[in-house]
């Protein structure tokens, strides 16, 4: 049997595909079901957003930041706002910071719901996806009352937020959180602890802690390898020092440390922690203004600044260079999905094709964030 002639197949998991999260392309060299290598090909969603910033100015760029990562639009808004504020030394009022945290944590829950739902659908279970989307729709209803939009929020401004909490919104938000905690438990009973699901995810795509740091992974991908690094705790910003919450990390309970199941469970636990932060924020929110005074034609002093925030995908970095005029000189966003694409090629050797889908889903890759 050793003289049987076999050949490698080169497959194209093309830009149009039901499972890759956005428009991604993989050139897969496979020997039957087992892959030798999967080479990612990115760039299908490049929209020159960073260049557009140089044309529209500081205030006008805020809606464009929604489109950098439309699933985590609040975080990108916050990043841009914080970059401009750091450069111009503007201080956001306390209530504004609390509003930012509330909006951001609701967005984190919504983003993780989409991530775990899409992952379950890629594995084959169709109902957890619709349940997650149903919960996400309820959050979208809340945010629609807050800022008027369901996906591209444009909620924050340089110096704070654009709208204060409407009357009656706090009670609705608390009612939603009371509804959400048992739903998360039910979701876990439906799919997270399901033996078939666990078998599909455990020991797939194991990332060692050293690899995670070398390949620049951030967010839940990094924390699943056991490394406790969360910008909200380690480089605190905004109102996060006021809240008590834990940072879940992976522990290799179902397989090796750093496998897909760890990444999935870290996201589930982060949702529960976000609910805890939200309850504290909604209880302790101080009265006062939510927006600082910023000139209409905003001209920060010349210089550069860099800020980091913990978005749904991880450590999102914003780098801004200003030349003293009303238009930025250079804007750059560093997103977690871009780094995650780099590690797929290394991990793909020896995986089966079905596992490639699991791996991409567990790294929570959102295509517009890769290409901007």
């Amino acid at each position: 049997m050793s003289t049987l002639h076999t050949e490698e197949m080169t497959l194209n998991m093309g830009p149009q595909h039901p499972s890759t999260h956005g428009v991604l392309r993989f050139v897969v060299r496979a020997d039957g079901e087992v892959m030798r290598e999967a080479i990612p090909d990115v760039g299908y969603l490049h929209r020159s957003i960073e260049k557009i910033a140089e044309k529209v100015g500081y205030h006008g760029f805020m809606p464009y930041t929604d489109r950098v990562d439309y699933v985590c639009a609040m975080f990108t808004n916050q990043g841009w706002g914080m970059a401009c504020e750091k450069l111009a030394h503007i201080e956001v009022p306390r209530r504004g910071e609390y509003c930012r945290v509330i909006a951001a944590e609701f967005n984190r829950i919504a983003s993780h719901l989409l991530s775990v739902g899409a992952m379950a659908m890629d594995i084959g279970a169709v109902t957890p996806f619709t349940h997650a989307i149903r919960e996400r729709e309820m959050i979208n209803d809340l945010i629609e009352e807050l800022c008027g939009a369901r996906l591209t929020f444009n909620y924050m401004r340089i110096g704070g937020v654009a709208w204060d909490l409407p009357p009656g919104w706090r009670e609705k938000a608390l009612a939603y959180l009371d509804h959400f905690d048992p739903i998360l438990e039910e979701y876990n009973a439906l799919i997270s602890w399901n033996k078939i699901y666990v078998e599909r995810l455990a020991n797939v795509g194991v990332i060692t802690p050293a690899d995670a740091i070398n390949y620049n992974l951030v967010g839940p991908n990094l924390r699943a390898c056991g490394i406790k690094w969360d910008i909200r705790k380690d480089i605190p910003y905004s109102a996060y020092p006021d809240f008590e919450f834990e940072v879940p990390i992976g522990d290799g309970h179902w397989g090796k440390l750093g496998d897909s199941m760890d990444r999935y469970v870290v996201r589930i636990r982060e949702m529960a922690q976000s609910a805890i932060i939200l309850r504290q924020a909604l209880a302790k929110i101080p009265p006062g203004p939510v927006l600082a005074k910023v000139a209409r034609n905003f001209k920060p002093p010349a210089g550069e600044c860099q800020i980091r925030i913990e978005s749904g995908r991880g450590d999102m970095g914003w780098y801004l260079v200003s030349d003293g005029t009303g238009y930025p000189w250079r804007v750059h966003v560093r997103t977690g999905s871009f780094a995650a694409m780099g590690i797929i090629q290394k991990l793909s050797a020896g995986l089966m094709i079905a596992d490639l889908v699991t791996l991409i889903a567990s790294l929570d890759v959102i295509a517009p964030e890769i290409d901007r």
């Binding site: 805020m62 629609e144 800022c147 008027g148 939009a149 654009a162 927006l291 005074k293 209409r296």
Partner: protein, 188 residues
């Protein structure tokens, strides 16, 4: 023996977790579906259920437009085109063109924020699909109109007062910087 116990444990885990999963899905048969059966099986029009802050298609109340061009400057995608000149005879500001290209508009709300009277505002209308691209440029000026001059005290004209009240209440939804009235326009 650990292989046998692992074997038995696998079978037990599979059976128990699938049992729980089936119980969860069975409970969903008894719940109301979350679907909104738009557009024909709804008790109320969707547009009437949306919040006041909803950022739908833009609309301009020309009666209270002051011709200040703040919205045109603020728009990040240049979808608003306004032509306003001073009429040499009557010495009044005349609006001769106010076009909003709703195909380009990204519904961000940056134009309604600086409007002094709330004349340009988002409505709850979202059904804008049409057959021709030309119809997506909403032209709000049919014949040239005189721009509105805001009065120092309350508005006395009974035709304009309700429109102005609605515009100002729309503006009140937005956060005021520093908790006070919005800052005056600084010279460019």
């Amino acid at each position: 023996m650990s292989a046998v116990s692992e074997y038995a444990q696998n079978i037990k885990d599979t059976v128990f977790t699938i049992f729980e999963g089936m119980a969860v899905t069975a409970s969903h048969f008894m719940r109301k579906p979350y679907t909104v059966q738009y557009p024909d099986r709804m008790p109320v029009r969707v547009q009437d259920t949306l919040p006041f802050r909803y950022r739908g298609i833009l609309e301009v109340d020309l009666e209270i437009c002051t011709g200040c061009l703040a919205c045109e400057r603020a728009c990040p995608i240049d979808c608003i085109v306004i032509v306003v000149d001073k009429d040499p005879q009557t010495r009044q500001m005349l609006l001769s063109q106010f076009d909003i290209d709703i195909a380009k508009c990204m519904y961000c709300g940056l134009c309604s924020e600086p409007c002094p009277t709330g004349s340009i505002h988002h409505t709850t209308e979202f059904e804008g699909a049409d057959y021709s691209l030309e119809s997506l440029i909403r032209r709000f000026v049919k014949d040239p109109v005189i721009a509105y001059k805001p009065k120092k005290g309350p508005e006395t004209d009974p035709r304009i007062a309700p429109i102005l009240n609605r515009g100002m209440s729309y503006l009140d939804q937005w956060a005021q910087p520093g908790g006070e009235k919005p800052a005056e326009e600084e010279p460019a």
